[in-house]
Amino acid sequence: MELQEMKALWKVDNTTPISITEIEKMTLENSHPMLRKIKRQLLLEMILWIIILFGYHNAFDGAKRPGAINLIFVAGLVQAVAYNFAGYCAARNLIAGSDLSTSFHNYLKKLRRFRWTAICSRAVLMLGVILFFSYGLEMQTKRIVGIAGITTMFGIQLLLISMSWNKRIEKLGGIAESLKN
C-alpha cells in the first residue's frame, strides 16, 4: 500500500454522523461520562467527610480530647474535602498549552505537584484519624497491635496511591519525551 493510497483510505468518511443536538449535549459537564463518575464519587466522599466533621465532636467525644488533637483531625478532614474539589477541577482541563509538547510539559508539572499533594493530603488525614481515636486509650497489647495494624494498612494505601501516580506520570512522561525527540 503506497502513501497516496493510505491517504485516500484515511479520508474516506465512513462515520455515522452525529447530530448537532447530540454534539451540544457533549459540551455539558453533566453528560460527560468520566466527569460524572468522578463527580459522583467525590460528592459521596465529601458528604461523608462533612457529616463526620459536623458530628465527630459529639459522636466521638471530641470535647474530651486536647484542642491540638481536634485541630489536626479537623484540618485532615477539611484539606481532604479541598483536595477532592481541586482534583475535580484539574480533571476538567486536560489542555494546558498551545502545542502538544507544551501541553504535556505543563500537564505533567501539574500532575507531579498533585501526586505530592495527594500523598500528603492522605497522610495528614490518616495521622489525624489515628491520633484522634488513639488519644487517651489505655495502651494494652491488643490495642497496640490494632493501632499498628491500622497504621500498616494506611501505609500500604499510601504506597498504592504513590505507585498509581508514578505509573501515570511515567507513562505520560514517556509520551512527552517521544513527542519532543
Partner: protein
Amino acid sequence: MEEKPFLQLISDNQRIIDKICRLYRDTKEDRRDLFQEIVFQLWQSIDSFRGQSKPSTFIYRVAINTALTSFRKDKTKKLIDYTDQLPEMANEPEDRDLEARTQALIAAVKKLSEPDRAIMALLLDDLSYREIAEITGTSENNIAVKISRIKDRIRKILKI
C-alpha cells in the same frame, strides 16, 4: 466563539475526531466516551483558538492531546468487541473491500507507538511538515526524521 458556530465546526469536522477515537480506543463504548471527552475539551478551550491556524489543525491538536492524556478504563476489564471489526457500511462488494482496506490501515497505524500514531494521522490527512511540527511543538527537521522512520515501520507492518 459562540456556541452555534462551535457546534457547526464540530459537526463539519467530526470525521477528524472519529478517526482519532478509532486510533486510540479499542471498543465502541470507549470510542464514544473519548469522542464526548474531546468535544468537551474543545468547548473548554475554544477561546484559546485565535484563528491563526486552520480550525482542523486546532481540532487535531485538542483531539490528540485529549486521547493521549485522558484516563482510560482498566484494560483487563475490556470485553472483546467483535462487532468493531465489522464494517459499518458494507452493503456492496466495493464498499466491503474499501472498508476492509481502511480497517487494515487503521490496524497497522494502531501498531505504532501512541505519539507516532498522532504524527501518522496528521500525515495521512495531508498536513504539511510545518503544520505537524506546529501541532506537536517540535521542529520540522525532527518531524521529517520521525516521518521517515514511521513510514518504514508502517511498510514493515503492512509488508509492502
